[in-house]
């Protein structure tokens, strides 16, 4: 297993920098997720690691050695593609055996490894079937088996679960995580689904417009997003636009557009007088009680909808400016308001982040 290092990696197509100065160190055995919206450069970065795309500048290092001059087959990596890319003219057995055959492994070794991979992905019943006869999930597992068969030192996965339905997707996420942990293989996983990233990753690399915006564990990114983009992209959050009035004790006093004044934690370089956006997670909002701390933020809202989600109760309320705000209450809450009720929601200043309002 090897580490992967990206040094000032850049890719330019005509006049556009699709990937700009990426610096990243991935430790041996780590599962890192490249997360971001479409067009952010995550797939291009992955393909540069694979050697399918040549960087315009910068270097890729696998296991400490620079691999830029090496063709994909010499990098000893495995890759699972978005469309699985199983060879339609070969049955499952031959697909899995492909890499070993190209590496001139002995028949004995090939047979042994194919059997191991089939067991690992639980596909032994399908060994003689052709890809066209398999379902999406089955094809995906064969693709994974094929990528791992020749014991590569790095595993690359390009949005492999995108085409699966929700249930199957979640199952496969757990499968991938299990297999990765079992083999201890360094893995780079690309996805635009932040939930998927949260489930799988030890570390998430959030990318936007060709750059890395933030790297961190799921907890770090969730609790301490460094930009409005990240706050919005990871998990659900409420956006409250307004203007920064005063900075004191690390907290910002903000005059919200909906008329209320609140205090929030300064999370970006917001100056007094700037237009800002405050974010607060739905689960940090609660219905105000008489016993609440006076230093908490309060906001009068009108109840609109409630949804029972099984493990939580989601409330949609409307603020004085007409914007929708989401609350997440525990499933065991009592006194859940009814649609039309006028209520007050409360939240602590520490749970609210204030960002400068850039085009995020």
């Amino acid at each position: 297993m090897s580490s992967v290092a990206l040094e000032r990696l850049r890719k330019r197509y005509r006049d556009i920098d699709v990937v700009k100065d990426i610096d990243l160190d991935i430790a041996q055995g780590e599962l890192v997720v490249l997360l971001g919206p479409s067009g952010c450069g995550k797939t291009t970065t992955l393909r540069m690691i694979a050697g399918l795309v040549q960087p315009t500048a910068g270097r890729v290092r696998i296991g400490g050695e620079t691999v830029d001059d090496l063709p994909p087959r010499a990098r000893n990596i495995g890759m699972v593609f978005q469309d699985y890319a199983l060879f339609p003219n070969m049955p499952v057995r031959e697909n899995i055996a492909f890499g070993l055959q190209e590496r001139k492994a002995s028949h004995k070794r090939i047979d042994a490894r194919v059997a191991e991979m089939l067991a690992l992905t639980r596909m032994h019943a399908f060994v003689e079937r052709y890809p066209a006869e398999l379902s999406g999930g089955q094809q995906q597992r064969v693709a994974l088996a094929r990528a791992l068969a020749y014991e590569p030192r790095v595993l690359l996965m390009d949005e492999p679960l995108g085409a699966l339905d929700q249930r199957l997707r979640e199952d496969m996420q757990r499968e991938v995580a299990r297999i990765q942990k079992a083999l201890g293989i360094t893995t780079v996983f690309v996805t635009h689904d932040q939930q998927e990233a949260m489930v799988l990753a030890e570390r998430i690399v959030v990318m936007n417009a060709g750059r890395i915006e933030q790297v961190g564990t799921p907890e770090q990114l969730y609790a301490n997003p460094q930009s409005l983009f990240i706050a919005d992209f990871i998990g659900r959050t409420n956006r409250l636009p307004g203007e920064a009035r005063e900075l004191a004790d690390g907290l910002v006093r903000v005059a919200l557009r909906n008329g209320r004044a609140i205090r929030a934690r300064a999370a970006g370089a917001a100056q007094v007088g700037d237009a800002v956006v405050c974010t607060v997670r739905p689960e940090k909002l609660r219905i105000a009680q008489a016993s609440d701390d006076a230093s908490d933020n309060m906001m009068p809202v009108t109840m609109r909808r409630r949804s029972f989600m099984g493990s939580s109760i989601d409330l949609a309320v409307e603020d004085p400016a007409g914007s929708e705000i989401l609350l997440k209450l525990s499933a065991t809450s009592t006194d859940v308001p009814a649609p039309g009720d006028a209520i007050v929601v409360a939240f602590r200043p520490e749970d609210c982040l204030c960002f400068a309002a850039t085009a995020a």
């Binding site: 694979a50 050697g51 399918l52 063709p71 994909p72 087959r73 990596i77 495995g78 890759m79 593609f81 978005q82 469309d83 890319a85 199983l86 060879f87 339609p88 003219n89 492909f98 890499g99 190209e102 590496r103 094929r146 990528a147 020749y150």
Partner: protein, 287 residues
């Protein structure tokens, strides 16, 4: 679908079928009949039906030679055509660049221009007073006085000119149907460029390529522009013989017999290809 609509489609099909059947089959029927009649004198045809014309041709070694040459030239041209068409079609299908648009325009222009113009260009180029011969003559200090036309090779070149654009266009469509990720997967998993081609791309292209080859083969078997103008009377193919029988000897029955034997040869080759790869018979349209 509503029954009314289905009836409309059926009527359309019936109309097309009847019209086509008349066009396809009626002239052929009379033609076959003509081939069974004896040719008494130029322009004079007898009454008695027999297979005599066929017997005379089939038992004549000379005709076997001509058929062999015709098939040989057609096959060689198709092979050369495929060899050239594949890299061209691959480039057009895989390169993402605006240049590709203009390359396709050039290709379409080339297919638009009649083969007779291309052959004209070839005679100018390869003729005894043409630049190629003169250049070779000069380069070899007067030793090489080559005859580049009026031989099998020049006819084959003419046939390739005839079919290459179509081959490129068909292969273009076929290659486009193979996702690039398949080739990439092969490369990442350990295959060299050649191995990726051999093990993944070629097997997937094969049915479409065979269909294209058959179309080109059929075209070559029926062409005579190249053979006449580039062969200069020394290259004898079945189409030329047919033409001569009509124009020079006014011998319709034997021309008909030869034609039907030619058609039979084409059909047999196509059927043989069907055995090799059943899916190949579906004529792959360049689109």
């Amino acid at each position: 679908m509503m029954p009314g609509a289905r009836r409309a489609y059926d009527s359309g099909l019936i109309a097309a079928f009847v019209g086509s059947a008349l066009l396809f089959l009626v002239p052929q029927f009379f033609f076959i009949r003509q081939s069974l009649l004896p040719n008494l004198a130029p322009g004079v045809v007898g009454d008695t039906l027999s297979l005599e014309n066929y017997r005379a041709i089939v038992t004549d070694a000379f005709y076997w030679g001509v058929f062999g040459r015709t098939i040989g030239l057609s096959v060689v041209s198709v092979a050369v055509g495929l060899l050239l068409a594949f890299p061209t079609a691959y480039l057009l299908a895989r390169i993402r660049s605006r240049v590709v648009r203009w390359l396709i325009v050039l290709l379409l222009i080339s297919s638009f221009v009649s083969v007779v113009v291309k052959v004209l260009g070839l005679t100018l180029l390869l003729g005894t007073d043409g630049p190629v011969v003169r250049a070779l003559h000069a380069l070899s200090f007067g030793l090489w006085d080559l005859r580049l036309v009026h031989n099998d090779a020049s006819v084959a070149i003419g046939l390739v000119q005839y079919t290459l654009p179509l081959l490129v266009m068909i292969l273009f469509g076929v290659i486009q149907n193979v996702p690039p990720s398949l080739e990439e997967a092969a490369l990442v998993h350990g295959a060299s460029d050649w191995r990726a081609f051999r093990r993944v791309l070629l097997p997937l292209l094969w049915p479409g390529a065979l269909a294209a080859a058959l179309i080109a083969f059929n075209m070559n078997m029926g062409a005579f522009t190249s053979a006449v103008l580039l062969g200069g009377g020394r290259v004898l193919t079945v189409p030329i013989m047919i033409q001569r029988k009509i124009i020079l000897e006014t011998d319709y029955p034997n021309a008909a017999a030869l034609s039907l034997l030619l058609t039979l040869a084409v059909v047999l080759v196509n059927l043989a290809a069907l055995k090799v790869r059943p899916g190949a018979f579906a004529a792959t349209h360049p689109g």
